[in-house]
């Protein structure tokens, strides 16, 4: 049943009133070449009952397996109170509400979220969130071009450890606006960016992007990269993992003057993996470029009676006011995910988040040490890592992962496609959710697969 309240008669009457022959005529201004006549590849509609059954059977595929895959989305313990509060009727909306100021509680939650994000990133201002980590990089790249008007370059230089998926998404979103993305070579001995090539880089990029910890779990030389970029007149974009920020130096403190923009994936803050989403994107920046930041921002103010209140602010940057000149076509945020993240952070506090970070790092270190005792398995780098690390096998990774999956172990992420220079490697992750018994179960399964 279509949930459209207009009858055929209603539609005829409305079209007649405005003197238009058909609904299609209302879209006349869209050139024919840009229209799609049919939706090839979109299957026919299913009934509610069929959809429920399909979704249940898909969800069941997730059940039972021990997950050691990180690669951008991380399994953390989410206290049940997080989603208990988040799904209350007062909060349960996906977006910033219309007539936002009528929803003071929602605005206050977003304001608290922004405050927490600026505290974690060491930045001056945070927006109310973006769609996800990958699109947050695209928005940060576009923002850096607007903010760095002295630079004529449209080249964005990525550190070697930037998530390849983020690069693809950023290219898809920002490529048509003339931005190009290049990557520093990877030092295959350390798993970090090879900084020697910076010496020869005469052509200054408009921005340098550093992911910390890197996609490979390693620690980039953020101070050096930041100072090099600023010396060249480039802005610095930090891709962060919010859990790691509980123990690592905040991007605002990188190098002599700090990164200019921090972005990243907010999922680790209380959002379940849910087979890939919905997640939310983080974005924060320095005060001097706040007007180039996309997305909504909530500010604190006082009303006519002098009482404190919350309001959307700097809206002139946004699409509903600035139209085609807006900083972005993003006019909303991931409100529900941000509500969960805010409650998660409030529950854990700085000390709790720090314990999650340290425990995750320790479990991964233990896992790597245990796996390295198996023949044909060794750590790829001697360098320190956060809660993810690269393991080298003496054989192709994919069949091994498939055999592990049959034993209900999701053994990690196959790096051979994104980082072919590393050979047969996989990225493994253990968070605080993995007990020592879980690590042992993985090691036993891998042992069995490798000796089969």
């Amino acid at each position: 049943m279509p949930f459209i309240p207009h009858t055929e008669e209603d539609i005829e009457a409305m079209l007649g009133e405005i003197g238009v022959g058909s609904i299609d005529e209302l879209f006349d201004e869209i050139p024919q070449a840009l229209r799609i006549d049919d939706l090839d590849g979109v299957p026919i509609a299913l009934s509610e009952q069929q959809v429920s059954r399909l979704m249940r059977s898909r969800a069941e595929q997730d059940r039972g397996a021990l997950c050691f895959i990180g690669a951008g989305a991380y399994e953390h313990h989410v206290p049940s109170v997080v989603w208990d509060i988040t799904t209350r009727g007062e909060f349960y909306s996906a977006y910033t509400p219309y007539q936002a100021e009528a929803s003071q509680g929602t605005l206050q939650t977003i304001y608290e979220y922004q405050t927490m994000m600026t505290s974690l990133t060491g930045m001056d201002v945070s927006n109310a969130s973006l769609y996800d980590g990958a699109s947050s990089l695209a928005e940060a790249a576009l923002m850096s071009v607007r903010a760095n008007r002295k630079s004529k370059s449209r080249r964005i230089l990525l550190a070697a450890g930037v998530n390849h998926l983020y690069e693809k998404v950023a290219t898809a979103i920002a490529g048509s606006q003339g931005l190009t993305f290049e990557r520093l070579p990877l030092d295959t001995r350390t798993g970090t960016s090879d900084l020697n090539s910076l010496e020869d880089d005469d052509d200054a990029p408009v921005a340098v992007v550093v992911q910390m910890p890197s996609y490979l779990g390693t620690y980039e030389e953020v101070d050096k990269l930041t100072d090099w970029a600023h010396e060249k007149g480039a802005l610095v974009i930090a891709i962060v993992n919010p859990t790691a920020l509980a123990v690592l130096k905040a991007p605002g403190d990188w190098g002599t003057s700090g990164a200019d923009i921090a972005c990243g994936e907010g999922q680790p803050l209380g959002i379940p993996l849910s087979s890939g989403g919905p997640f939310f994107g983080i974005m924060a920046c320095k005060q001097d470029i706040v007007r180039q930041m996309p997305g909504r921002i909530v500010g604190r103010t006082t009303d006519l009676d002098g009482n404190p209140g919350f309001t959307l602010t700097l809206q002139a940057r946004e699409q509903h006011i600035r139209r085609s000149k807006a900083t972005s076509n993003i006019c909303t945020n991931q409100g529900l995910m941000v509500t969960a993240a805010t409650i998660y952070m409030a529950l854990l506090g700085p000390e709790g988040l720090r314990r999650v970070a340290l425990s995750s790092q320790q479990q991964t270190a233990k896992l790597v040490a245990r796996l390295a005792t198996i023949d044909g398995v060794e750590p790829a780098f001697p360098t320190p890592h956060f809660h993810e690390a690269v393991i080298r096998l003496d054989r192709p990774v994919r069949p091994v992962l498939e055999a592990l999956a049959k034993r209900d172990v999701l053994g990690g992420y196959d790096l051979s496609r994104d980082f072919p220079e590393l050979g047969d490697t996989l990225l493994v992750c253990a968070t605080e959710t993995k007990t020592d018994e879980d690590l042992e179960a993985y090691a036993n399964a891998l042992q069995a697969v490798m000796s089969a």
């Binding site: 008007r149 002295k150 007007r291 002139a316 940057r317 006011i321 600035r322 000149k325």
Partner: protein, 129 residues
Amino acid sequence: MSELPGDLKYTNEHEWLRQEEDGTVTIGITDHAQSALGDLVYVELPEIGQEVESGGEMAVVESVKAASDVYAPISGEVVEVNEELSDDPEKINADPYGDGWIVRMRPTGDDGDTMSPDEYQAFLDELED
């Protein structure tokens, strides 16, 4: 409505131009424009040395209500910008024809279409009707 300064030229985009003795032209927005925009909170200035074409975007003025482009009334090179507006955009509200100037340009081509004070006053009167 305040008196229009007699030594300026005006455009139908509500900008004013003052021919300086050194050949440059100072440009700002008119009292009518600032009053229509309301309290200004931010001005985005062009880079010094930037070449702008007549009719092209030159600056952005943002008020609590709206953000509007300021179009270059003439073609030329930006030789000076009013840096004080970065910290103090309301100077445009307080003194649009004086401290609230926006850019100084060295013209590179013909003058664009401008109006005398009387013509601009007539243009404003027509808008109000």
